[in-house]
Subunit: 116 residues, 2 copies
DNA sequence: GTAACGTACAACCTCGTGGTTGTACGTGAG
DNA sequence: CTCACGTACAACCACGAGGTTGTACGTTAC
């Protein structure tokens, strides 16, 4: 397996919100309970809980029960998987540039073996 | 300027759709008109047009009029900017690991100058 | 045991998104 | 000039996202 299947739709959608990106940053720095996270933002506990749920479905965070608390921690592997997807765009783009160079080279050489 | 201000919300939201990611791939490989793109997908022209508009607002693509056509091309710099944002998550995560190592080191040394 | 805490979830509202069809307008070809 | 083409945009619909409040349930503290 490629470490794990990446649900690109869910991951990018989850990252498309400033609050959620902030939550990811916090729990990447160190685990935190849902209520501890909720205290950081000016919105209801339920709202934060939903954000965490979105991040969990995207596998950007994991939850682990400890006593009556639920500890949330960031999952760096999913972040990396998203980064790799972006790198694929880079490769596509680089490939296009390479093809352009080939064309230019052929023209400069007077198309010795180019298409008729 | 940091090359240009990245609107993370818009960029990630734009990337959170398979059709739009496919469009980005195509126009990163080589420019294409909106109708040419529309022919690639089983949805109305207007729908594809909207997707392109979303990508344009996120600056993932640029449009340039040529005659009666509108040429769409991918903007690799925005893709890179998004990648750099993901790398910031990596750094946060790495920083946490580093701090963990410091704590372990202090414990191993018997906390010669640690907190009372 | 009881009370407070941390969590989960349902119901509800509003707004943006992704799709449709229809219409209008500028440009290029014949 | 005329007509087809490429594009733009408005109106509409269905659905999910993001927020709220209220309620319920398990767990810890006292």
């Amino acid at each position: 397996m490629v470490v794990r299947e990446l649900d690109a739709d869910r991951v990018f959608a989850a990252l498309a919100d400033a609050t959620r990106r902030d939550i990811v940053t916090r729990v990447l720095r160190g685990e935190a309970s849902v209520t501890a996270l909720a205290r950081c933002y000016e919105m209801s506990f339920a709202a934060v809980q939903k954000h965490v749920a979105v991040l969990e479905r995207a596998r950007l965070v994991t939850k682990e029960r400890r006593g009556r608390e639920q500890l949330v921690r960031g999952d760096i592997t999913t972040v990396r998987a998203a980064g790799h997807l972006l790198e694929q765009f880079e490769r596509v783009w680089a490939g296009r540039v390479e093809r352009m160079h080939e064309l230019l080279a052929e023209e400069a050489e007077g198309n010795p073996e180019g298409p008729s």
